[in-house]
C-alpha cells in the first residue's frame, strides 16, 4: 500500500506492506531510529510517539493507519537548537541512565502534561505507568516531569507540535526555559 505520513515535519510517501508496524516503518524505512522497540507485547512504551497530537505506542499502530497523519518523534522535539522543556528537564534531573526508554518516556510525559499541566507525584506515576524503565527507579523521571511542568506554558503538548503547511508552530511546546 502507498501511504503518506508526515514525520517531524517532513512528508514521506512510501509503499509499505499492510502488516508493517508504524515503529518499523519509522525505523527501517524512514531512518527514524530515535524511536526504539523494547518489547513485543505493548508493555514497555519505549516506542511511544505522537500521532495526530496523541501519544501512541507505535508498535500497536500499523503504518497504514498513520496514512495522511502527522507523527512526531523524539527527534523532532528540539526547535532551533533549543531542547523541549521536557527534554531539558530529563537532563537536568538525571532522569535517564542507559537512555533506551527515554524517547518513549519523554513523548509520554509531554502527552500527560498536555492533559494535566500541573500533575502531582501520583499523577505523574499514573501517567507513565505504561512506560517501563529498568535503570532509574522512576524517582528522577517523576521529578523531571514535574520540573518540566513548571517550565511549560499552559496548553503546551502534542497539539502544539502539529505542523501546518510545512510551517512549524512557534508557540506552545517550546515554552520558556
Amino acid at each position: 500500500m502507498r501511504i503518506t505520513v508526515t514525520v517531524d515535519g517532513t512528508g514521506y510517501t512510501d509503499d509499505v506492506e499492510p502488516r508493517t508496524l508504524l515503529v518499523h516503518h519509522l525505523r527501517e524505512k524512514l531512518g527514524k531510529t530515535g524511536t526504539v522497540v523494547g518489547c513485543d507485547t505493548s508493555n514497555c512504551g519505549a516506542c511511544t510517539v505522537h500521532l495526530n497530537g496523541q501519544s501512541v505506542k507505535s508498535c500497536s499502530v500499523l503504518a497504514v493507519q498513520a496514512d495522511g497523519g502527522e507523527v512526531n518523534t523524539v527527534e523532532g522535539l528540539a526547535r532551533d537548537g533549543q531542547l523541549h522543556p521536557v527534554q531539558q528537564a530529563f537532563r537536568d534531573n538525571h532522569a535517564l541512565q542507559c537512555g533506551f526508554c527515554t524517547p518513549g518516556m519523554i513523548m509520554q510525559s509531554i502527552d500527560l502534561l498536555a492533559d494535566n499541566p500541573n500533575p502531582d507525584e501520583e499523577a505523574v506515576r499514573e501517567g507513565l505507568e505504561g512506560n517501563l524503565c529498568r535503570c532509574t527507579g522512576y524517582q528522577n523521571i517523576v521529578r523531571a516531569v514535574r520540573d518540566a511542568a513548571g517550565h511549560m506554558r499552559p496548553g503546551a503538548g502534542p497539539a502544539a507540535e502539529q505542523v501546518a503547511d510545512g510551517e512549524r508552530t512557534t508557540t506552545g511546546a517550546r515554552g520558556d526555559v
Partner: protein, 812 residues
C-alpha cells in the same frame, strides 16, 4: 594565573551522555544498517528437553527473500564449538558443551535450533514457520531438589549427573575460624531456615542485538554487550579466529545489569553466518526471545543455620546452597553463587563459618550474573536469618546486629571468610538512617496497630549490608580459578590544541562514565570538563580492557585513569622545566599550570602539549609525546556498606503490601558525582524491591516459561514503587587513591531483605516466619491466614496484568 578552580570531583554535573540520548540521536546496535546487510532469525525450541530426530529446512529455503537456512550441524559439522565458561569453580566441574545451535538434543525451551538468513527481518521471521523439526521428548528436569534426587533423569546423559560442581569453604580448614558443627552443637540458641531465591530475568530495556561485517580483513562486530573486550578474545578463542582480525564495538548499550555479561551462541552464530555468506549480518531479538534465551539470575535454595548465645553473640553460621545453573554454564556460571561465599558473614564477627554450594543443571534457561551476582543472595540469607535469630532471642533486630557487627575502630578487619575490609563505619550509617526513618516512632505505631488489631499491620525491615565489589584483584580471582584477571586499562592522549582524549577499558551502558571520567581527569590535569572526550567500547580505539560489571568501573578503571594522568603530568613536568629553564623539583603543578616555585613564571599543560607536538625544543632524549597509559590492578576489593530501613503496611485481609517508606544511608566512600550516585541507588533499590515483591521467572511442569513477556513478568512501573530517601556517609576506601567504593549493585544487594524483613515483621505475630518471594498478595494472605506452611506456594506467573495460570498453558 586564575584563582583556584572548584574541584570537579564531588560536583553534581549533569551528564555529557544525555544530550544525544534525549534527542534520539543514538547508536543502538539495531540502528546500524550496512550495504548488502542480511538478517538472521532463529527458530527456538518449544520444548524443554528432547532429542532432535530430524530437521527439514527445504520449505523454508523456498520462502521469498530467504538466502540460507542453517542447522547446528551446518554451522559446526564437527560439533566442537562450545560457548565459554570462564570460571570452572572446581577442577572436576562438569561443563556441558553449549553449541551455537542445538545439536542432537534441545536442553531448554528457547534454545535455538535453526537460523534463517533473509533479505529482511520480516522475511526471515516468516520462513521460521516453514522449518519442520521432529522432537522426541525426553524427561524434563526441573527444580533443585528434583534434579539432585537419587535416580533423577539427567539433563545431559553424557555427564552422568545433574550436579555440575560442589564448592566448599570451611573456616576451620582455612584457619580463619572455628569448626561450625562444634559451634552449633555447643550454642544456647540455634535457628535454621530454608530460604528460596527465586529466578529473575535481568530485563535490560534494549533487547540484545548483533551486527557482523566480514567484508574487511578485520571482521567487525557490533554487539549490545557489556563486555566488548572479553567478547573479542572469547569469540576468537571459541571460533578459532585470529584475534587481531576481530574488532568488537559496543555502541550505545541499553542497560545490562549482568544480563549482557555474556558470550552468546547468537553472537557466535552471526559471525559464522557472516563469514559463510561474505555479507554483513544482523540479528536483533524480540523481547519474547530475550525472556527465554538471555540468561536469568538468582535461583538458589539456601539452607542456613545460625547459632548464638542467649545474649545475642553469634557463634556460628552454616550455609548449604543449591544453585540452579539451568541447562548450561554461562561465562561466570558457578562463580556467581561462589561469590556469595565471602558475603554470608557480612558485617558481622562470626567465629565459625562453613559454606557449601552445589551447582545443579536443569532443563531451564541458564542463569548467570544479574546485578549483584551472588552477593544479593548472600545478603538476603544473612539479613533474613539475623531477623529470625532476633525474633528467637526476643531482641530488637538492630540491637542484635549492633552486638555482632565490626566496630568502626576495628578496621581493617579480616573476616572469617578471609577478606580484609579496609574501612567502614556501620554505626554512623545506622545512626543517620534510624534518624531519617524515625525508627522509634514507627515501632510505636507498630505496637499501637498490633494492640488495636488493625487490619493493616505495620512492619519494619532492616538490612545492614556490605558487599565486595570492584571485581579485581587479579591474584584473588586467580586463586578462585577464575579464567581472567581483574585489572583495568586507561590511556590519555594530549592533543596539540590542549584538548584531551581519555581511553578507558571500562564499557558503560548507562552508568555515566563519560561524565565521571571527565570530572576525574579535569581535576587531575587541570583542564576543562568540556575539553575532555572519553573513548570506550571499541576494541580498535580502546584496545585493552576487562569491561564493566561487578561495580568495578570506577574503583578499578577510574583509578587506571588517575594513574595515566599522573604519568602525563610527570612527562609534562620534564618538558615544562626545560621550557622555563628551571629544575623539575622547583615546579609546582596546580590547576593545569606548572609554576616555578616563588616566581610568577608559569606554563599551562596545554602549552606544554603544543610544544611537545611541535617538538622543536625538547630536552635531549625526551620522546615527543605526553600520551600515557596505565593498567591498574588493585590489591583489594572495595567494600561499600549501608543501612537500609523499610516500613511496609500489610493489609491482612487482602495480603497487599504497600511500601510506606524506604530510607537508606549508604557509604560508598568518596563520591565523584552525587547525581549519578543517587541515580544508581534509586535504580538498584528498584531492582532489589522488585525481587522482593514482584518478579519471578516461572516454569510450568513441562519446562515452559510462563512468565515469558512483560505482561507476565512484572518489571515494576512508576506506580509500583515509592519515592526513596537516600543519604550517605563517607568513609574513604583506603585501597585506592580516590578513596572510592563501588555503587552499582549496592541498592539491589541491600534492599531485598529489608523489604521481606519488613513484611514478615508486620505479620510475625500471626505466626509467620517466612514468606517466599515475590511477596504477592496471595502468598502474604496465605501466610497470614494459614500459617507459615502455606507461604511457599507454587510460583505464580505475574500478579495482575494478564497473568496466566501456569496449570493451563503459558505465555509462549
Amino acid at each position: 594565573m586564575t584563582a583556584m578552580a572548584e574541584p570537579e570531583v564531588g560536583r553534581a554535573r549533569v551528564r555529557k551522555e544525555d544530550e544525544r540520548l534525549i534527542a534520539g540521536r543514538t547508536r543502538w546496535t539495531d540502528n546500524i544498517t550496512l550495504p548488502g546487510m542480511v538478517h538472521m532469525a532463529l527458530l527456538r525450541s518449544p520444548t524443554a528437553h528432547a532429542r532432535i530426530s530430524a530437521i527439514d529446512t527445504s520449505a523454508a529455503k523456498e520462502m521469498p527473500g530467504v538466502i540460507a537456512v542453517y542447522t547446528g550441524d551446518d554451522l559446526d559439522p564437527g560439533g566442537e564449538v562450545g560457548m565459554p565458561n570462564a570460571w570452572p569453580i572446581t577442577p572436576d566441574q562438569k561443563t556441558p558443551r553449549r553449541p551455537m545451535l542445538a545439536q542432537g538434543t534441545v536442553n531448554f525451551a528457547g534454545e535455538a535450533v535453526a537460523a534463517v538468513i533473509a533479505r529482511s527481518s520480516a522475511e526471515a521471521e516468516d520462513a521460521l514457520a516453514e522449518i519442520d523439526v521432529d522432537y522426541e521428548d525426553l524427561p524434563v528436569v526441573l527444580g533443585l531438589d528434583n534434579a539432585v534426587a537419587d535416580g533423577a533423569p539427567l539433563v545431559h546423559e553424557d555427564l552422568g549427573t545433574n550436579t555440575s560442581a560442589e564448592w566448599i569453604f570451611d573456616s576451620a580448614e582455612a584457619g580463619s575460624g572455628g569448626d561450625v558443627q562444634q559451634a552449633i552443637s555447643s550454642s544456647e540458641v540455634v535457628v535454621t531456615r530454608r530460604f528460596r531465591q527465586q529466578r529473575l530475568v535481568p530485563a535490560f530495556m534494549e533487547p540484545r542485538s548483533v551486527v557482523v561485517d566480514p567484508t574487511a580483513p578485520q571482521l567487525t562486530m557490533w554487539s549490545a554487550t557489556q563486555v566488548p573486550h572479553i567478547l573479542k578474545t572469547m569469540v576468537a578463542m571459541t571460533l578459532g579466529l585470529p584475534e587481531h582480525q576481530v574488532r568488537v564495538i559496543a555502541p550505545d548499550v541499553g542497560g545490562g545489569f549482568g544480563g549482557k555479561l555474556a558470550v552468546t551462541p547468537e553472537e557466535c552464530a552471526a559471525v559464522v553466518v557472516a563469514q559463510k555468506l561474505g555479507k554483513p549480518v544482523k540479528w536483533t531479538e524480540s523481547r519474547s526471545e530475550t525472556m527465554v534465551a538471555a540468561h536469568h539470575g538468582r535461583d538458589q535454595m539456601q539452607d542456613i543455620t545460625i547459632s548464638a548465645s542467649r545474649d545475642g553473640t553469634v557463634t556460628g553460621l552454616k550455609v548449604d546452597l543449591l544453585a540452579d545453573m539451568g541447562a548450561y554454564l554461562g561465562i561466570v556460571g558457578g562463580g556467581v553463587p561462589v561469590l556469595g561465599a565471602f558475603m554470608f558473614n557480612a558485617i558481622y564477627k562470626i567465629p565459625a563459618y562453613r559454606f557449601s554450594c552445589t551447582t545443579v543443571l536443569t532443563n531451564t534457561t541458564l542463569t548467570d550474573a544479574y546485578r549483584g551476582a551472588g552477593r544479593p543472595e548472600a545478603t538476603f540469607g544473612i539479613e533474613r536469618i539475623m531477623d529470625e535469630l532476633a525474633a528467637e532471642l526476643g531482641m530488637d533486630p538492630m540491637a542484635l546486629r549492633e552486638k555482632n557487627w565490626i566496630a568502626h575502630d576495628e578496621f581493617p578487619y579480616t573476616t572469617v571468610s578471609t577478606l580484609t575490609y579496609d574501612s567502614g563505619n556501620y554505626e554512623a550509617a545506622t545512626a543517620k538512617a534510624m534518624q531519617l526513618f524515625d525508627y522509634d516512632g514507627l515501632r510505636r505505631e507498630q505496637a499501637e496497630r498490633r494492640e488495636r488489631g488493625d487490619k493493616v499491620q505495620l512492619g519494619i525491615g532492616i538490612s545492614t549490608f556490605t558487599e565486595m565489589c570492584g571485581l579485581a584483584p587479579s591474584r584473588v580471582l586467580g586463586s578462585l580459578d577464575y579464567g581472567a584477571g581483574g585489572w583495568e586499562h586507561a590511556a590519555i592522549r594530549m592533543l596539540p590544541t590542549g584538548k584531551v582524549e581519555v581511553v578507558t577499558g571500562a564499557s558503560p551502558h548507562g552508568q555515566g562514565h563519560e561524565t565521571a571520567w571527565s570530572q576525574i581527569v579535569a581535576d587531575q590535569l587541570g583542564v576543562g570538563f568540556d575539553d575532555i572526550e572519553i573513548l570506550h567500547g571499541d576494541t580498535q580505539s580502546s584496545h585493552k580492557g576487562l569491561d564493566t560489571y561487578g561495580s568495578r568501573s570506577l574503583t578499578v578503571g577510574g583509578i587506571a585513569v588517575v594513574k595515566a594522568a599522573e604519568k602525563v603530568i610527570a612527562k609534562a613536568r620534564t618538558v615544562a622545566a626545560h621550557l622555563m629553564e628551571a629544575a623539575e623539583e622547583d615546579l609546582e603543578f596546580a590547576d593545569g599550570t606548572f609554576t616555578v616555585r616563588g616566581t610568577d613564571t608559569s606554563t599551562a599543560i596545554q602549552d606544554v602539549a603544543l610544544a611537545v607536538f611541535a617538538a622543536h625544543n625538547l630536552p635531549d632524549g625526551v620522546e615527543p609525546t605526553l600520551d600515557s597509559e596505565a593498567v591498574f590492578d588493585p590489591e583489594n576489593f572495595s567494600f561499600p556498606h549501608g543501612t537500609h530501613l523499610c516500613a511496609t503496611e500489610v493489609d491482612t485481609e487482602t495480603g497487599r503490601v504497600r511500601l510506606r517508606s524506604y530510607v537508606c544511608v549508604d557509604d560508598i566512600g568518596n563520591v565523584i558525582n552525587p547525581l549519578i550516585v543517587e541515580g544508581q541507588m534509586h535504580g538498584g533499590l528498584a531492582q532489589g524491591i522488585a525481587q522482593a515483591l514482584y518478579e519471578e521467572a516461572v516454569y510450568d511442569e513441562f519446562g515452559t516459561l510462563t512468565s515469558g513477556t512483560f505482561a507476565d513478568y512484572l518489571v515494576p512501573s512508576a506506580m509500583d514503587l515509592p519515592s526513596f530517601t537516600t543519604d550517605r556517609t563517607e568513609t574513604a576506601a583506603t585501597s585506592n587513591p580516590l578513596g572510592v567504593k563501588g555503587v552499582g549493585e549496592a541498592g539491589t544487594i541491600a534492599s531485598t531483605p529489608a523489604v521481606v524483613n519488613a513484611v514478615v515483621d508486620a505479620v510475625r505475630h500471626r505466626g509467620v516466619q517466612d514468606i517466599e518471594m515475590p511477596l504477592s498478595p496471595m502468598r502474604v494472605w496465605h501466610a497470614v491466614h494459614q500459617g507459615n506452611a502455606a507461604a511457599g506456594t507454587e510460583g505464580e506467573a505475574g500478579g495482575g496484568l494478564g497473568s496466566i495460570d501456569p496449570a493451563h498453558g503459558g505465555a509462549q
